[in-house]
Structure formats: C-alpha cells, structure tokens
Amino acid sequence: MQDDRVSGVWDSMCNPQSAIHCPQSIMSPLLFWTFALLMLVFGVAVVANRNPVASALSLVVSFLGLAALFMSLDAYFIGIIQVLVYAGAVMVLFLFIIMLLDLRAQEGRQISWLALIGGVTVAMVLLAQILYVIHNLKSAQQAFPPLARSTFDDVRNVGLLLFGSYNLPFQIIGVLVLVATIGVVLLSKREPR
C-alpha cells in the first residue's frame, strides 16, 4: 500500500514536461559513456592480449560494463542474468579450460602483417556499414521516451511472457541445454583405444 502511494506520487511528478528528476531516468550521459568506454576498451583488450588468461579476465570486465548498460536501459533482469551467466558461469568455464590445457602466451609465432591489415580492413568496412545504417535510421537521433511508471516488476513481466506466449520455445531451450550437457559429457569422455 505504502509503496503504491509513493510510486503514485513519483508518477504524478514524472511527466516529460516537468523538470523534476525522475527516479527511473538513470541514463545520465556520464555514466553511459563511462561504462561504454569501459566495455569497449576491455573488449579490445580481449582481442589484443597475447595471454589467454588476461583475455578471459578482460572479458569479465567487458561483460560487467555491458551489464551496467543493460541496467541503464531499465532491463534489470537481463543485467543480473548477464552477471550470473557470463561473469559467473561462462568465465569460470573459460578459465578452467585454460588452466586444464595449460596454455601459455604464444610468443614464437610471427605476426603476419598482410593478414593483420586485411582483417582490420574488413572489420573497418563492416563498422562503416553499420554506422551508415545507424546514421540513416530516423529514430536514432531521438532520446528514450520516459516510462509510465517508476517502479515495475521486471522479472514478473518477463516471466509472464516466458511462461505464456513463449512457453514452447522455453521448453525447446530446455531440451537444447540437456542435449548440450549430454554432448559435452560424451565429447570429453576419453575414448578407449
């Protein structure tokens, strides 16, 4: 009851014309560019590092920055799932495999400059195309519209959709994860020779 009344007060103040700071507009430019730069710099570090362990740890920081961006878009559930699944499970998997295989930093290999220039060129062409498409997108210059309510049940809404309209895909995903589990066990079993 109390919570409803408080959020109602916030809603009345949070029309787009009012200058009062709304609680859901945490998309401040400073925070956005901080986390975006964090994510991109450590994303580059993933690719540029010679040591696989350093790459994996850079990937953690990059994913944490991405989770912060998700939360700045009011997608709290997705942000928390991102931290749990990527920064938790997937990263442990990567580090575990690196430890298991005892990979060292590749030092002896000569860098092929032709391949490097070619790869960077193709990537830059792709980036130019993406930026061209975004530049020509009409709605790309618009700011995000304000939400109707300041507090909402993120997990509840996603869950209702997941178990309602997307029930069949959800169960298919469950079968996919089961198949992946069995496949991983079979692949990592040592074959008798």
Partner: protein
C-alpha cells in the same frame, strides 16, 4: 542526452571488435571469446530497442528481453560445447592454433 543511436553505435563497435577477433586471432579460445562479444553486441541493441519501443502501457517491450534471454541461454550452451570440442581437439593434436588444424583444407 543519450539517444538510441549512441547505444546502437556502441553495440556496432563491440560487434566489430568481436568480428576482428574472429578474423585476426588464431587461438581457438580467443575466437570463442570474440564470438561471445558479438552475441553480446546483438543483445545490447535488442535491449536498447526494447527500451525505446514502449508498450501501449508505457513499459518496455518485453518480447525482445525474452529473446535476449534465449540468446544468453543458447550462447552458454554453445560455449560449453565449443570448449568440449576444444578439449577433445587438444587431446588428439596438442594445439589450439587454427593454423595447425588444416585437415579439411581444400
């Protein structure tokens, strides 16, 4: 003011970083990590569009968040299978360098 285009540009740059990683690196583990970067770049634009395109009730469009949920699940399964294949490969060849795995090369 942060616009939709800013999020899309950041997402595009992240995708390009992942793409460059797949093109340039020869270590299979790094290639798998770059694949993860590309998947996450797609997730970022999906969530940005979800926040931009509100429902009639004024809440974010949760259809794309459900889609992101599916993408994250499939990506986790993909990493598990990919790393298992990597371990099996390392067991037979003692390498994770794609330059050394050329049996199927034409």
């Amino acid at each position: 003011m942060v616009t939709l285009g800013d999020y899309l540009i950041v997402s595009g740059i992240l995708f390009t970083i992942g793409f460059a990683g797949v093109m340039l690196r020869r270590n299979l583990i790094i290639i798998l990590m770059s694949l993860e970067l590309m998947l996450n770049a797609a997730n970022l634009s999906l969530v940005a569009f979800s926040r931009f395109h509100l429902q009639p009730s004024g809440l974010p469009d949760y259809n794309s968040q459900v889609f992101v949920f599916f993408v994250i699940t499939v990506a986790a399964a993909e990493v598990a299978v990919g790393l298992a294949i990597l371990v099996a490969l390392y067991r037979t060849r003692q390498t994770t360098d794609v330059k050394d795995i050329t049996s199927l090369k034409f």
